[in-house]
Symmetry: C2
Subunit: 305 residues, 2 copies
């Protein structure tokens, strides 16, 4: 079986002189849009698949983690079931099936996703239940992106990372802490889903009352994971809140000035530079773009100025 380092596609480094000029900063993009399955989640999913002994893995995900886990299990010869709401977009269900997993469609008014996952696990008895973000194996998998950024050997003034459940930010912080590297690493989260910013401000893990309805659907999490929170609390240099309009503008600018197709969650980092330009002016910034999977309809709407 291939190791994590052998299996993942190295992140795609894109220098974007026109985008840099527009943003008034020296911006380098680390894009996970061409990672296997189209987002950084493959790093986490593959690390889970190769490290748990179970022949079957179950997860609830209507997004990138489901696709990533399906493909990771296909590559490692494990069975995989992904629980999705029955009203999920057809393209998302098709993507998970394309990667070889069983899709278990549920009516979330009748049973919660986590209850259904537990039910399936009890029926099978030999399955690992994978969390999309709150699992040390997930964080360790994502830390491989941090390791790649370290080996670039570039002196970034700041690295900006999208935040949803905090798995990617936690992984990159873990990697840099492990290496003793003190580069400032900040999170970028939707202002509509600012639980990470509030958690840092209050010094304790804050939970949103409802799933926030931001366009950045990868950040529609009610809180950071507990494992991630412990790392983020100790190592992050700040969390920036990005209004919806700057998320959309980030998608547009990456399209126009860097030829990069990104999902709204992936545009959070450019959105952070647009929302708070004074924090970045003249600095060398690495913007992590977490993924590229987005419905054509949502994308078309983002392109309208």
């Amino acid at each position: 079986m291939r190791s994590l380092q052998e299996a993942v596609r190295p992140t795609t480094i894109i220098e974007a002189p026109r985008l840099s000029k527009r943003l008034g900063a020296d911006v380098v993009i680390a894009s996970e849009t061409f990672q296997l399955t189209g987002s950084f989640k493959f790093r986490a999913a593959y690390n889970v698949a190769i490290n748990v002994p179970h022949p079957r893995i179950i997860a609830a995900s209507s997004g990138n983690f489901g696709q990533a886990l399906a493909y990771a299990c296909q590559l490692t010869g494990k069975r995989c079931t992904v629980v999705m709401p029955h009203n999920s977009a057809a393209v998302k269900v098709a993507a998970v099936r394309d990667y070889g997993a069983t899709v278990d469609l549920i009516n979330t008014h009748e049973i919660s996703r986590s209850a259904r996952v537990q039910q399936l696990a009890r029926e099978s008895g030999e399955a690992y239940i994978a969390s999309a973000y709150d699992d040390p194996l997930v964080i360790a998998g994502n830390s491989s992106l941090g390791d790649e950024l370290l080996t670039l050997g570039r002196g970034f003034d700041r690295i900006v990372v999208p935040v949803g459940g905090g798995g990617l930010l936690g992984g990159i912080l873990q990697s840099f802490a492990r290496a003793g590297n003190k580069t400032a690493i900040v999170g970028a989260e939707p202002a509509l889903a600012n639980d990470a910013a509030r958690s840092i401000a209050q010094g304790e893990l804050i939970v949103n009352e409802h799933e926030p309805q931001t366009i950045a659907d990868g950040a529609r999490t009610v809180s950071l994971g507990h494992h991630n929170w412990a790392i983020i609390r100790d190592h992050v240099s700040g969390i920036l809140e990005v209004p919806e309009e700057q998320i959309r503008e980030g998608v547009r600018q990456l399209f126009t000035l860097a030829n990069l197709k990104v999902e709204p969650t992936g545009a959070l980092t450019i959105g952070a530079l647009l929302a708070q330009p004074e924090q970045f002016r003249g600095k060398a910034i690495c913007c992590v773009v977490s993924g590229g999977n987005v419905d054509p309809g949502v994308y078309r709407e983002c392109l309208i100025d």
Copy 2:
């Protein structure tokens, strides 16, 4: 001054398992969308800029070559004037200016592009007039992409390359011929602009009567360049004609299944696989994607199924 090999960004190799599954072939994409200035044209433009002694370069281009030449001149300390029709899209004029060139806007009803270029050259007396495709320096610059494909060391059954003026196809053929490599290399051109296919069929260079109005605007050329024709005639394994609908579908499939934003001309190669799937089934195919610069409005329309 940096050499061509030092200055260009290596092409981006993207393996796309979902796209391969859909197309029934083992497809690897060599994408020039993240090349400096967003298309392969930078290879040609930079090679011109470093090889001519003139302190100033003039060209007529409303497309990718104008941006590429502007940036190549900026990097090499040369002055650059790009002649563009006065009704060019504002974003294209802005892009050329962003890269530091002087834009000379003309009314094409009053003076032709080439006449204006000649006029400017006479006024200046020390300028090189650059062709976007019909120039040995351009072909040699583009051959650097062929050299990169050779160093991949992968056994492609076929390499598919977009064809407009033939500069890119000529360059890649030149590179493979130079190396004595016999891999089949085919061109993909719009059916609406099939002068290359007709030229091959008739054994002589055929010229379109009008500029063909294909959505693939990089292929709106009236004929192959003479230098390119000589190479293509001797070495190409075939020219495939791609209907407009398959060009659009190529843009959509690259969006959906490979997270790649491409311009219609860049989608010609995937369009060729969609148009003639029986030629490619089960084979290992390298599809060259020539560039990614496309107006948001055109792109949004392509995404509609």
